[in-house]
Amino acid sequence: MITRLLDRPLPATILVVALLLVTAWGVSWSPRSIVVFMMFQGSILLLYFARMPTLVKAAVTLLALGVLMPVLGTINAYYMEIAIQVGIFVALALGLNIVVGLAGLLDLGYVAFFAVGAYSWAIFGSPQANLIFGGNFFPLGPWWFFVFLFVGVAVAAGAGILLGLPVLRLHGDYLALVTLGFGEVIRVLANNLDKPINFTNGPKGITPINRPPIFFAPLLQSVGIDPNPNVIYPLYLYALVLLIVGVTVLANRRLEDSHIGRAWEAIREDQTAAQAMGVPLVRMKLLAFACGASFAGTVGVLFSAKQIFINPESFTFMESIGVLAMIILGGMGSIPGAILGAAVVTILNLQVLKGLSLWLNELRNAGTVILGYNLTNLPTQLEPAKYERMIFGLILVLMMIFRPQGILPAKRRHRELEEERR
């Protein structure tokens, strides 16, 4: 019944808008209930499946993400944090989607590019750079943040080409292993480059990192809103994330349908045939690495500004696999898939597992007895919030066995995935 409703524009619009408003009201009524917030997120998903005129859909999306979400974020600050994280991972997933999904190059060290972007702003947007160049010129002012969004693109793209050049001759699983090694190398470097010259401050990390300027503060004051940074920054960063995700989605869609995107897909399906048809392999593969990396670079700059503090712990192999799990869950080569996958995995990690942990702790502290077992005896080391790897692992194995094309498969069918199983 629901699918039939969603197929007709008018009822679909009414249903989705009503659901959004009701669940949003539900969140404001019970701000700490994770279940209600998940229902709100669910109605956003429903919005994607609903069939309605493009303009109406854009308007409803704007209502959900541009109005309702910030309001809910001011009611419960943690929801804003989740929304920002989801945005960051959506952009990362879209970037990796270019490399893995479109060009078919399995990159297991993707987080390295994220790290490169993050460190580029962290070093220059904090007093850290003084230790490298001497003097007292740094940190660069908050305005430079916007410049560094582009510097991040350039540096990460450069790193992508640097990695791409030597490894392009490798195929399939060897390429995967080398990118994995590259990711580890970047992490070890970040961990150890505090001597002989202190670039990264080692495992202690860099802080404080400048945040973007609140250039619209006078405007807010003129309409009588107090520009308190603690309130403004989450909303501001959320807006920036939305902007970056928007640009990323747009770039992805344009790339996918361009001759570059088609060349990537040709390489993915059959490298030899693609070369025979005149696709310049080296240039296209390098381009895929550079494009994918550049998105990670920008998001990295934003990430370091959001965190104020970064250290190598944020850029482990697990993060690379996490992003990979996102696009595999959603569907390799599919933009809506990457977005959905990133949202689901991030929400699972930050919301469901954490919620489970808190709930278990409450039960334990209250000494609840379930089936004759007193939960106070539960081992203290058992924290569901720490089992991200189990989730990533299960996603990867189950998706590969039962649905390798993902939840929302790409429109252009992957011949590679559909290949007959002999």
Partner: protein, 323 residues
Amino acid sequence: MDFELLIGILPQVLLDGIILGFMYALLALGYTMVYGVLEFINFAHSEIFIIGAFVGVEILLSFKSAGWLDVLPWPLILVIIMVAGMAVSGVVAMVIERAAYRPLRHAPRLIPLISAIGVSFFLQDVIRLFESLWRNSFNLVYPTMDVLNHRFELTETIDVSVKSLVVIGAALLMLWSLHTLVNRTKVGKAMRAVAEDQAAASLMGINVNRIISLTFLIGGAMGGGAGVLFGVQYSLINPYTGFIPGLKAFTAAVLGGIGNVPGAMLGGLVLGLLEAFAASYLSLLTGGAFGAEYKDIFAFSILILILIFRPKGLLGEIVRERA
């Protein structure tokens, strides 16, 4: 720079390198055997390895609480934990193959690799979950046995502990048995045949599925044995310890020529020695600017260089490419 010092520590560095090298060699065998038969990187092998280490520590801890650790003769205890670790790891490897790899055997190449990465991550947290529930801690330490820690002084500066000798002896025994199995028995012949050409092997009456299972069993058992030895030698383990040694052992397998059993042994030894040298000399030679932490980068750089300039490895044949 103190030249005397550099020469003085050389024998100790060599010894450390050889122990590390045998560890890598045992682990590399698991990668190389599976690659030889299926042309696929068994990413979960590092967890099979660490499962062996956990089986060993669990048995030792229960022996300790039962007070048997000082009563039973130490060689018997070592044999028990080795056999148990090898058995459990081998069976786990076989089960993984059946559950997560066999359904994907004819899928495109990247599909089973991604599945294997998933298995690896999943197993890490399964071990953690199990140990958290069972012992309320997942960082475990091998109980010390006094006999094993006894050290023979060879010269004033160089000594060798009993456990190092045990590790080297056990590793040599395992490598020799594997070599005999692969080259001198009928089963070994069948394994080589399956690696050469699965279709032709099955036409000759070889049960390919059973041989593949057997390959995982033997490779897993080697990994589990290496895990127990790792625990005996380095004491401290947690569910995530296996990852980096696994990666390096894979590097060793590639270095020696993947799919090639003697190559894996050679590659393991070479990599172990190189790493021991890097760990001890890098900081001495650069005046402390680059510490021992860079030994990881060293191993990965070797992997990258080998793959680019000599992908067939030191002893390998040219790797065939599957679509």
